[in-house]
Symmetry: C2
Subunit: 481 residues, 2 copies
C-alpha cells in the first residue's frame, strides 16, 4: 500500500486555494481528444503522493473554476464557504441518513431544517426530505400525487389504472419528461401548456386543457407549476393555478428549484404568492443560494404521506424492537437506502448567516440582476428578450455592429442564431466569461446571464461581463459562421 | 453579513481531527428528546464564527464516529483518506457533471473510471454512469430492462403493456420493492424466490417460477441476482442464473453493491463468476471499498442504450450547435440534471493505490472476516448462523451463560430474539461497538459483523469486539427482557 492518505488530506486546502486563486483562469479550454492526451488518468499502477498531487493539480488546471464571478454558465455558481465547510465535515463524518442510531444529530438537523423551510414556504403541517437534486425531487412529487390518488398503485402498479396526465408549461424543466418515462406514465402523458410572453404558464389554457381531458375520461393527476423557469426565470401565477387545482381536485406541485430562493427575502417573497397552497414543492438550495451540490429539498403538505407512500419496512434496518423511539428512523420515507446528510451544509450556512443574512444576499442578487438588465437595455448592440424580470435571469442578444443596419428578416435571425454560439465560443476560449445560450420557442439563440449569491458580485463586474460580450461579439465575422 | 466563511474553512481539518481523535468515543448516545434539548439547532439568528464552531463541535460530539474500527453497524465504515481528499476537492470545485464544457476533466475521469471498471467486471463493450446510490442504480436497471423489451414505454407508458415481473431472492435488498412501486409495476410484480441455507437464490425455483409465469402469459422482465446479500453476504450462482436468463430471454441484473468489491482481488473474483454475462450491474464503492458516500456505479452491457433510454434532449443544455464534440456531453444519459462528480474521489483512491493496492485491501478484509468467523466458531457462547462465508459478513448469536443449559425450544428462541437487541443496546450505550442485528427468515435476531477496507482492522481489534459482546451479553438478565 502506498503513501499516507492522511498527509494528503492536510494539503487539500492549499491545493484548492492555489488552483482557485485570483490569477488562475476561469477555464483553459481543450477539446476532448486534446485533453485526453494531456491528462494522466490511468489508475492501473499506484503513484506516490507527490505524483498524485501533480496529477490532481493537472486535472484542476483544466477544470472550470465555478467559484469565479465570471462563471455564469448554469443556475449555480460559487459555494457559500460556510456551506463548503459543512460539506467537508459531512464527507469526513461519512454518515448515511437512514436511522437515528447512526445519524442522531444529523437526523435532528434534517428535521429542524425541514421545519424551518416548511414554515418559510407557508406550510404549517408538512413533511419533507433532502434528495439528490431537483429531478429526483420531481419523481418524489409525481409518486406522491399518484399514491394519494390511487393508494393501490403501490402494490398493483399502473396496469389497471386509468390514463393519468401531468400538466406543465412549455418553458418548464425537462425533468418532467424523464419522470413521466421512468414512472410509467410515458412522455405522451405530459400535457404541454403554452406560456405568455414572459414565460408564465397560460392559466386559461391550463384550465381548458384540464376540462377537456376530464371530458374525455382521462385523469388530470398533477399540475407542475414552475417558480423560476430555467431560462427566463419566470414564475407561474401560483395563486391562479392553486384555484384551478382546488377546483378540479388536481395535485399542485411547484418546481421552485430555482426561484424558491426568493422566499428568503420579504421583498421578493410575494412573487411566489400561492405557493403555500401547493401539495408539494421542490427547492434546490444548491442553485441560487450557493449550498454545495447536491442540496435539494422536497416538501409535501401531508404529514405521514411520504412514509406511507415510500416505506418498505426493511427488517434489517428499521427494526421495531430498538431501544429508542424509532419514529426518528426517518430513512424509510426515502426511495434511497444510503443517503447523504445534505441538510447539514445548509444548516451551517443558515446558522452562520441567519434569516436576515440570507435575505440580504437574495436582495443583492436581485439588485445586481436588475442592474444588469438596465445596463443591457441602454447599451448599443444589446437587446433584451423579455422585459419583465422575476428571478435573477437576464436574457438578451448581442447584435454585432455589422448586423445592426440590416433588415431583421428570417435570414437575419438565422444569422443571429449562429452568432450567439460563436460569441460564446470566443468568450470561453479567451476565458473571459462562461455564459449560457439557448433558443426558446420562436426566439433564436440568445444569452442568459443568471445571478447567484456567491461570489457576491459587484456592478463593475457586471459591466466587465458585458464588455467581454461586446468585444467578442465584434470579433465575429460572416466568414466565421 | 457575518464573519468570514473562508477562515472557517481553514479550521475544518482541525475540527474534524479533534472530533475524530483516538480518545473521542464512538458514540455518546442520547435519546432523541434529550439530544434535541442539548443541541442548539435554531438558525433564525446569525451567530459568530466562534459560536458556530461551538455548535458544530457539539453536533459532532453527539454524532457517530464512523471512522473507528468499532463502527460495524452498516455496510460502510471509515473512508479512504485519498477518497476523502477527492471528495473535498470535488465539493470545493462544485461541479455538475452534465456537459463537457463545465466539467471537461471530470467528464473524462468518469469515462475513464467506467472503462476501467467495466473491464474489471468483464464487460468489453458497455456503458455506465455514477448514480446517487444503489437503490437509484436499481431504478436505472429496471428502466433499462423495460425500455429494451418495450421501447414504446418511453412515450406511451405502462398502460398498454402486459404484466411484467421482476424476480429476486428472499434475501435480496428491499430496494427492488421501492423500484417496483415507483416505476409503476407495483410490489406484487416482484416474485420472491426462496434461498438456500447459505442465502443464495434457489436456481431451480427461479427456473420454474419463470416458466410458470410465462405459461400464464405474463412477461418475466428481469432477474435481480445478488452478489453479496445485505445480511449474510451471499452471492447467488451467477453462472446458473445467466444460463436461465439467456434461455428465457430475461434481463439479468446483478446487485453487486456490496460484493462487487471482491472483483478487485484475483483471489476473490471467481466467487462472482458469471457476472460478465449480466445485462446490467450495480456496484457501490462507497460500501466495502471506503469511497466517501455517495459513490455508486451502474453498468450496462449495451452501448448507447442509456442515452437512448433516458435522453430528453433539452435544448438549453445539450445544444447540438456547440463548438466541441457534443458526444462528450454525457448528462442526458442520466435521470438527474445536476449530478455530482462522484467518479473523481474514486479515481483519486484508485490512482493512489493502483489495482494491486485495492486488491491487497480486499484480501485483508476477507482475511480479517475469516479470522472473526473462526474465532466465533471456537468461542464458548458464540454460535454462527451460517457456515459458509462469501463476502466479509459474519452472522452469529451470543448466548449468555444463563441460557446455555436450557432446552432450545420455541420459548428459548423468543428469548434469544430479545437478548440480541438488548446486547446491542448495552454495546451502544457503553460505546464499545456498534453492530447490526436482524432476524432473517426463521432465524431469530442475530448479529452481523461486516468488514470494510477502512480503517484497516487488526486481529486484536476483532477479539476486542467479541470480548465486548461477551461482556455485555453476560450483563443481560431475564428481568431486562
Amino acid at each position: 500500500m502506498n503513501g499516507n492518505g492522511h498527509t494528503f488530506l492536510s494539503k487539500v486546502l492549499k491545493i484548492v486555494e492555489e488552483q482557485q486563486s485570483e490569477v488562475t483562469p476561469l477555464i483553459q479550454f481543450k477539446h476532448p481528444e486534446e485533453l485526453e492526451a494531456i491528462l494522466d488518468l490511468d489508475v492501473t499502477k499506484a503513484v506516490s503522493d507527490a505524483e498524485l498531487e501533480r496529477c490532481v493539480r493537472q486535472v484542476l488546471q483544466y477544470s472550470v473554476n465555478t467559484s469565479k464571478a465570471i462563471f455564469r454558465n448554469q443556475l449555480y455558481g460559487g459555494t457559500d464557504p460556510y456551506g463548503l465547510s459543512g460539506a467537508w465535515i459531512a464527507e469526513a463524518f461519512n454518515t448515511s441518513q437512514y436511522t437515528f442510531e447512526v445519524a442522531p444529530a444529523f437526523t435532528l438537523i434534517e428535521l429542524k431544517m425541514l421545519q424551518h423551510i416548511l414554515k418559510l414556504f407557508g406550510i404549517l403541517e408538512g413533511d419533507g426530505i433532502f434528495t439528490p437534486g431537483g429531478s429526483i425531487s420531481l419523481l418524489y412529487a409525481v409518486v406522491a400525487a399518484r399514491f394519494k390518488a390511487y393508494p393501490g398503485v403501490k402494490s398493483q402498479g399502473m396496469r389497471n389504472l386509468p390514463e393519468m396526465l401531468l400538466f406543465t408549461s412549455e418553458d418548464s424543466h425537462y425533468s418532467i419528461k424523464k419522470a413521466a418515462h421512468w414512472l410509467g406514465f410515458g412522455t405522451e402523458s405530459v400535457r404541454i401548456i403554452k406560456t405568455n410572453n414572459q414565460g408564465q404558464m397560460s392559466v386559461k389554457e391550463l384550465c381548458s386543457a384540464i376540462q377537456r381531458e376530464r371530458d374525455l375520461g382521462r385523469i388530470p393527476l398533477m399540475v407542475n407549476a414552475t417558480a423560476g423557469t430555467t431560462v427566463f426565470g419566470a414564475i407561474d401565477d401560483l395563486e391562479a393555478i392553486a384555484e384551478i387545482c382546488q377546483k378540479f381536485g388536481v395535485w399542485m406541485h411547484v418546481d421552485a428549484c430555482w426561484g424558491g430562493s426568493l422566499m428568503l427575502s420579504s421583498n421578493q417573497r410575494s412573487k411566489l404568492k400561492g405557493i403555500e397552497r401547493a401539495d408539494s414543492i421542490s427547492w434546490n438550495p444548491h442553485k441560487m443560494t450557493g449550498a454545495p451540490l447536491q442540496c435539494s429539498v422536497f416538501m409535501v403538505r401531508m404529514r405521514g404521506l411520504l412514509h406511507e407512500c415510500n416505506s418498505a419496512s426493511a427488517q434489517y434496518l428499521f427494526q421495531q424492537d430498538k431501544f429508542y423511539d424509532v419514529r426518528y428512523d426517518t430513512g424509510d420515507k426515502s426511495v434511497q437506502c444510503g443517503r447523504k446528510i445534505d441538510a447539514f451544509k445548509l444548516w451551517m450556512m443558515w446558522k452562520a448567516r441567519g434569516d436576515a443574512g440570507l435575505s440580504k444576499l437574495t436582495d443583492h442578487t436581485m439588485n445586481i440582476a436588475s442592474f444588469c438588465q438596465n445596463a443591457i437595455s441602454e447599451k448599443p448592440g444589446f437587446r433584451l428578450v423579455t422585459g419583465v424580470m422575476q428571478c435573477p435571469n437576464v436574457c438578451f442578444w448581442y447584435i454585432p455592429t455589422f448586423m445592426r443596419e440590416r433588415q431583421e428578416d428570417e435570414q437575419w435571425w438565422e444569422l443571429m442564431h449562429k452568432i450567439t454560439p460563436k460569441i460564446k465560443e470566443l468568450l470561453t476560449l479567451s476565458s473571459q466569461l462562461m455564459v449560457a445560450y439557448t433558443p426558446v420557442r420562436h426566439y433564436k439563440n440568445f444569452f442568459r446571464l443568471a445571478f447567484t449569491f456567491h461570489p457576491v458580485i459587484q456592478e463593475s463586474q457586471v459591466l466587465d461581463m458585458l464588455l467581454a460580450i461586446e468585444e467578442c461579439g465584434e470579433k465575429v465575422t460572416l466568414q466565421m459562421l
